[in-house]
């Protein structure tokens, strides 16, 4: 290997590790959780291994509680919820707007706003307002993309992805249609084999965190308002006849099965603010 080639690969590796390493989420209550763990060891209880069974539930619950505190009280956000500091409110519908639910415009009005946006008839400076009006949810995995819950005339619901492309806005159906009557829905984005996966959906019951459990034991956790790889954006909106729903989208995470190209299966859990599972959805590819 030449010295120059080695230097190049070293620099590229350093940069790749920096980007990847900084993408892992750090819970706001991490220190508290460490103290609790250490405390459990100090009080004479058995500390054998990492207590994989108890840990995730407690952890998810703790993260969820924090997320909800942020959600319900916008003044808890950095800068009093005004948008400074960490970008919790970057999207048109950020966690701080979750309570009370954002009332969407009536069906014809919402449809007209959406049609204008998708046709590129909305001036760029008006887009933010239009997206807010629609209750659009920022995609944590891609800049300048939002999700909109659109109710069809039949009462079915479909989540659409709206992406900025210069002066235009492209709108594409992002998930399958959730038939009328469904109280919740989760769409899975990911390919077979190794690659990125993310989840987007809605639920009538309030949800605060999520857990993907693959059949091989791999677990991924997300929390509304979390950061890095554990980030999920969430918002509570009123959708037509359906009433208030929480819509959510998780950041993409990389999953690697034991063999490349292998079928991917697992369960995606929705958890409420107390860390209780309120919805379970199988996913597969």
């Amino acid at each position: 290997m030449t010295e120059g080639g080695k230097r190049d690969i070293e620099e590229a590796l350093r940069e790749a590790l920096r980007v990847q390493g900084e993408s892992y989420s750090v819970s706001p209550d991490a220190w508290e959780r460490v103290r609790n763990r250490a405390g459990r060891g100090a009080d004479g209880s058995r500390r054998g291994g990492r207590r994989r069974l108890a840990g995730p539930v407690l952890a998810a619950s703790a993260v969820a509680c924090t997320a909800v505190a942020v959600t319900l009280v916008p003044s808890h956000l950095p800068g009093g919820g005004g948008g400074s500091g960490r970008d919790h409110r970057a999207g048109p519908l950020a966690p701080g707007s979750a309570n009370p639910p954002l009332r969407l415009p009536a069906q014809p009005e919402a449809a007209a706003t959406l049609a204008e946006l998708c046709a590129g008839a909305t001036p760029p400076q008006e887009r933010g307002r239009a997206l807010r009006k629609l209750g659009a949810l920022r995609d944590p995995g891609r800049r300048n993309r939002w999700f909109v819950v659109a109710e069809q005339a039949s009462g079915n619901i479909q989540i659409q992805a709206l992406s900025e492309a210069g002066r235009r806005m492209t709108c594409v159906p992002y998930t399958r249609v959730a038939p009328r009557g469904w109280n919740s829905f989760v769409g899975y984005s990911g390919g077979r084999g190794a690659g990125e996966a993310s989840w987007v959906g809605f639920a009538r019951v309030p949800v605060a965190s999520f857990e993907a459990v693959y059949d091989d034991g791999t677990r991924m956790r997300f929390a509304c308002g979390g950061g890095g790889q554990g980030e999920a954006t969430c918002g509570r909106v009123a959708v037509g006849r359906r009433g208030a729903v929480t819509i959510f989208a998780t950041a993409p995470r990389v999953y690697r099965p034991r063999r490349e190209g292998e079928r991917v299966t697992g369960v995606f859990n929705l958890l409420n603010s107390a860390g209780k599972v309120v919805g379970r959805y199988q996913f597969a590819r």
Binding site: M1, G5, A16, G21, Y24, R33, S189, A284
Partner: protein
């Protein structure tokens, strides 16, 4: 007054504050270390390392040894977790047919992803050595301590790891 001079009761109090300082200084980097080594729940690993550190009064009475202890613990815990996942995968029956069709969205891949994937294909020791060196900027000796190998071995793993990465990326002949 040095930490060694304190009685047991005082040492415990100070240990708490030392641990908190260590936590503030090292926790995010250790979460990154666990993630880059392939832990499925990097925060869980990093938190367990700190909890174990608190259980080791000896390490805390000499705070300068604590970062090395934490790094080695994260490496060990991640290794164990990956081994456990491998066993679970071996024991599980073939996955069932998908329950429902799902949406396929091709996500943009960032440029560095190729390198991270290539890193994942390295041997466990080469990967550990490279992550410790290039993520935490450790010296050969520090890498060796975290991996519990000799400094010469650590150096070899780093050299071979870099060469393997270059081959994987098509930048050098076999």
């Amino acid at each position: 007054m040095s930490v060694e001079d304190l009685g047991h009761r005082e040492a415990v109090t100070l240990s708490g504050s030392v641990l908190e300082e260590l936590f503030a200084a090292h926790y995010p980097r250790l979460v990154g270390l666990a993630g880059l080594l392939g832990a499925d729940d990097p925060e869980d690993v990093a938190q367990e390392a700190f909890a174990r550190l608190q259980g080791r009064g000896g390490a805390l009475r000499r705070p300068e040894t604590a970062p090395a202890y934490l790094r080695a613990t994260v490496c060990n815990l991640t290794r164990n977790r990956r081994r456990h996942l491998r066993l679970v995968r071996l024991r599980q029956p073939p996955p069932p047919e998908p329950a429902a069709a799902a949406e396929l969205v091709v996500l943009d891949r960032e440029g560095h992803r190729e390198l991270i994937v290539a890193l994942d294909g390295l041997s466990r020791r080469q990967r550990e050595a490279l992550v410790l060196r290039y993520w935490l900027d450790l010296t050969d000796q520090e890498v060796a301590e975290a991996m519990d190998v000799s400094a010469g071995s650590a150096k070899t793993h780093i050299r071979r790891g870099i060469a393997a990465l270059q081959r994987a990326l098509g930048g050098a002949p076999e």
